[in-house]
């Protein structure tokens, strides 16, 4: 299996654990990631509110470079994924748009390849069977609220991925690792990450409602698939908890970190020591790190 890889700006910065864990688990699963050379920012969260053409052109350059290699693109960041899908579908929608985009980026681009988010890649390209085979330390006893947020599943005609109100792909991955996905109501609510810097006060209630609902439904932690959601839920949790006097303490994981843990990769290699909400006490209390290699039968 070989795919183009578009990490996006956050995976070089605030979301570096997502990059570390994605690379670690992909290697173990035999998924070769070809990083798009000299990729540029896709403009997500700003360009589409400024200039519709710019919002198509910035992702298009990256997609065009992957197309030259004849590869689909694995995209970890939900916001990048969404903008790439918008670009891909706009390019296919009319010759006029396609020609306009090619002229702007000064590269041929036909949208013959496609962008796929990382949950989709793991669940449907790699496959759950293969994931189960690699499990060394099952996540049994770990109750996980799988949080998809907005841009992975909405609008459905753009993302073309899972159910927009009750997606299950990440839940199924967590089950395959031996973990216990909880049933909860806020898996597709927006956490407001794109506005969290400019409008922090408006974003605090959104975060509180997500934490509170996960907590009330018995979750030990949240699993996410977006660096913007992660930093918003992880870095701001302390402040939100204080503002609302919440009694939750929910470590946030990239779902790829949980995959890595279950595959026996060390917490350090996965970047787990870089979180604001320290996940180590939870992992220790569940005995996940010290679990003897249980192999597949135990899952």
């Amino acid at each position: 299996m070989r795919m183009a890889y578009y990490p996006g700006c956050s995976l070089d910065g605030v979301g570096l654990e997502f990059n570390l864990s994605t690379r670690a688990v992909s290697k173990l699963l035999g998924l070769e990631l070809w990083e798009i050379p000299d990729w540029n920012c896709c403009g997500a969260s700003a360009a589409h509110t400024r200039d519709q053409l710019l919002a198509l052109a910035l992702p298009a350059r990256n997609l065009a470079l992957a197309e030259q290699e004849g590869l689909d693109v694995a995209v970890p960041c939900a916001a990048c994924f969404n903008r790439m899908k918008v670009t891909e579908l706009a390019t296919r929608s009319s010759k006029e748009t396609k020609d306009a985009i090619s002229e702007l980026i000064e590269l041929p681009y036909e949208a013959s390849n496609q962008a796929r988010n990382l949950i989709d890649v793991m669940a449907n390209v790699v496959g759950l069977e293969k994931i189960k085979e690699k499990v060394q330390k099952p996540l049994s006893g770990l109750k996980v609220a799988c949080y998809y947020g907005c841009l992975l599943v909405r609008p459905p005609e753009i993302t073309q991925f899972d159910d927009p109100e009750d997606p299950m792909s990440m839940d199924n991955i967590i089950s395959s690792l031996g973990g216990e996905p909880v049933y909860w109501a806020y898996k597709v609510e927006c956490c407001g990450a794109s506005q969290t810097s400019a409008l922090p006060k408006a974003t605090v209630p959104l975060l509180h409602r997500i934490f509170q609902n996960a907590f009330e439904n018995g979750a030990d932690c949240l699993a996410v698939a977006c660096p913007l959601c992660f930093i918003n839920l992880d870095m701001r949790q302390g402040g939100v908890k204080k503002a609302f006097q919440g009694s939750y303490n929910l470590p946030i994981f990239y779902f790829t970190e949980l995959m890595g843990l279950a595959f026996g990769v060390s917490p350090k290699e996965l970047g787990l020591k870089k979180h604001f909400v320290d996940p180590m006490p939870l992992l220790n209390s569940k005995g996940i790190l010290t679990r003897a290699n249980a192999g597949r039968e135990a899952v």
């Binding site: 910065g13 979301g15 000299d38 920012c41 053409l53 702007l104």
Partner: protein, 189 residues
Amino acid sequence: METVRLSSTLSSGKSFLEKVQTESQVNVRDCYQCGKCSAGCPFVEAMDYSSHKILRLLQLGQIETVLKSKSIWICSHCATCYTRCPKKVDIPRLMEFLRMEANRQGFIGEKTVNIFSNLFLTSVRLTGRVHEMGTMGFYNLLSGHLFQDVLSAPGLFFNGKITPIPHLIKNRKVIQKIFANTKQRQGES
């Protein structure tokens, strides 16, 4: 509350609604005011006009009220509304268009959102990528929120998540050309 004569704004707003439809492919007359969009909107409490009210104001030709609103700057384009709308009114797309139009006419309902977007795109244009520490630093300076997130900064810095040195892509000229090409094309249309 001031009295508004709808008979005049209804006709004067017509050309704007045509522009909305041409540029965003949204027909605001499709909305029948069920309110499902506002019911599911995560940011509704922070808005001055909830999304179905924005649509109603547009239908009634109250264009300036809409362009001066905070709502069009607060919307995060999460598409909960659009996904659930029984009439498939693409509200996020509409909000994008309204924000651009407000910007063109000099109405900035939420200055901080505008500052952040400007800095974000400046970073992309200059380096090819977003430089997070630079964007946040300039944001704090320009927004006057000098101490926003400063308590988190050491945690980010010492874990290697932010760095003062921006990553420069090699083909920066190509990115600058994309910005220039786009600007030129917008100027022609």
